[in-house]
Amino acid sequence: MEAGTQVTGGTPGGLGPLGVKRRRWGEEVIRALLFLATAISVLTTIGILVALLTESIPFFQEVGTKFFTETEWSPLFSDPQFGIWPLLNGTFLITGIAILVAIPLGLGSAVYLSEYASPRVRKTVKPILEVLVGVPTVVFGYFALAFVTPEILQALGIQVNIYNALSAGLVMGIMIVPTIASISEDAMRAVPGGLREGAYGMGATKRQVATRVVFPAAISGIVAACVLGVSRGVGETMIVLLAAGLQPNLGINPTDGYATITTFMGSAADGDNPAGSIGYESIFACGLILFVLTLIMNMIAIRFVRKYREVYE
């Protein structure tokens, strides 16, 4: 870029023809086109907001504060109810189960890969984790409904419904493990070796180095990984749609079925709700809640990631 200004922009000394800048219209047009392409990603964000808001505003005008004060959700029934709590309850119950599985397994794997594994093991396992991040969630949904519920939970004698939060949560946890493991391993590897060596020099054992030096030093990256894990769980649709059922439920018994924000959106958007109906608008209202929730979590994660970058670069 520096070079460009020197050739076409003229030199301070005024060396004759070199200093003459000719406007190149072709170049300008290309630049404008590239800018337009870049604007598409910004327009996507604006488009999401506009789509969610234009349909949500009439929804909230009609429903008002009942959205947050009532405890029943049945917008598609003839006597519709619009209390969001059962959906939020299902979302966070299942994500909670998932996180209870994903954080110990994910962080354990990350510490092992970062501090204990030989370079060869790490070189094999890390790409496997990265491929696993890409396994479609509908596959995990199949696994939860067709394997974990009948062959594990019911085989163990746990009285679960066909659709239940436990199976969906456990499988969602397994789905999130590679995400948490991969990001937090990166954070731990970014801790300078000098810190480890200093601790070893003081007589620390491997476990002490891992838990008291590396782990605290990488904590912001680890927190970011966990927040992103939660965010993935909250936004996940297919596992819950297949394995947790569609029943709005305010309970906490994990053997029952629960609807979540995403499952409602997925099941209501089947084309039976004409545009402009309250059922159609409720999809967008749920989308807005989901968008805001995940946006907040992502902002937190980005902030934490920045923090750990600042320390070691």
Binding site: T44, A204, K206
Partner: protein, 304 residues
């Protein structure tokens, strides 16, 4: 720039004593290492069980007819994935035709034209990060509001589905494209410009060819993410029991993940085996795409 507090605590407040007191407890050390290994083991083992279960359940249904038959609501034995595969191919064509030019152009603009420190560049960067974390079903809602109904009103057709997926994975291409372009050393650009090439000539003839392997890798990874997405397609109205294959951009469509969803959700047990077989096909496609991406990355990795 300050060392993290825990290290300070260990070295300054209690010089040595704390570490020494606990040393020699070999059992604790071994136990901890074993726990970590178990964590990794459970995670990998579960995923292995998943793949094995799918393979065992699905292998029996994989026959040549499975690829040429259309899905049936009543008869599992004559059901196949022909419309789903055609739908997926069409979706990927639309998606690729959208993300390659737009993603690469954005990457070029952000790396070669925009001022890195400018507000716009930083805004776009944060925006791309945020877009990557928006739940996929929200993109479905975007497609529903603008492409299927609303301003474009395309209906639930291939074009709407493909563009929705394209918007969803666009950040992947932009990020990969930027990295690939950034990896081309400035000396290449300077050399080209010193010979009198314009900025665009430099980008088109020098920078882009050198960045193509990286861009191709990113694009394949983006498509491999798009090919398995289910939730946005449900929202934009893909059909799980399409009896005819899509033949154009404005046909209704099915897709492999949608077919898997439809069969898995079916209460009739026999359809689960078909779902497993379709998962095997999808996973085979996915793994080959990943393998190609890794091969591309290794084959054309360039050290300037």
């Amino acid at each position: 720039m300050t060392p993290p507090p825990p290290v300070e605590a260990a070295t300054v407040r209690m010089p040595g004593t704390q570490f020494v007191r606990e040393r020699g407890n070999r059992l604790k050390e071994l136990g901890f290492a074993a726990l970590l290994l178990i964590a990794l083991g459970i995670a990998l083992l579960t995923l292995l069980v998943l793949l094995l279960d799918v393979a065992i359940e699905g292998a029996g249904s994989l026959s040549p007819e499975f690829f040429t038959d259309t899905p049936s609501r009543v008869d599992p034995s004559s059901s196949g994935i022909a419309p789903a595969i055609m739908g997926t191919i069409w979706l990927m064509i639309v998606c690729a035709a959208f993300i390659i030019p737009v993603g690469v152009a954005s990457a070029i603009y952000l790396e070669e034209y925009a001022n890195r420190e400018s507000r716009f560049a930083r805004f776009v960067e944060v925006n791309v990060q945020n877009l990557a974390a928006v739940p996929s079903i929200v993109y479905g809602v975007l497609g529903l509001a603008f492409l299927v109904r609303g301003p474009l009103s395309l209906g639930n057709v291939v074009m709407a589905g493909g563009l929705t997926l394209g918007l969803l994975v666009l950040p992947v291409v932009i990020v990969a494209g930027r990295e690939a372009i950034r990896a081309v050393p400035p000396s290449i650009r300077e050399g080209s410009m010193a010979l009198g090439a314009t900025r665009w000539q430099t980008i088109w003839k020098q920078v882009l060819p050198a960045a193509i392997p990286g861009i191709a890798t990113g694009t394949i990874l983006a498509l491999s993410r798009a090919i398995g997405e289910t939730a946005p397609l449900i929202v934009v109205g893909a059909t799980a029991f399409a009896t005819t294959a899509s033949t154009g951009l404005f046909d209704q469509f099915s897709a492999l993940p949608i077919q898997i969803f439809g069969w898995t959700a079916d209460p009739q047990e026999e359809f689960k085996a078909l779902a497993a077989a379709a998962i095997l096909v999808l996973m085979a496609i996915l793994l080959s795409m990943n393998a190609i991406a890794i091969w591309l990355r290794n084959r054309y990795e360039q050290n300037w």
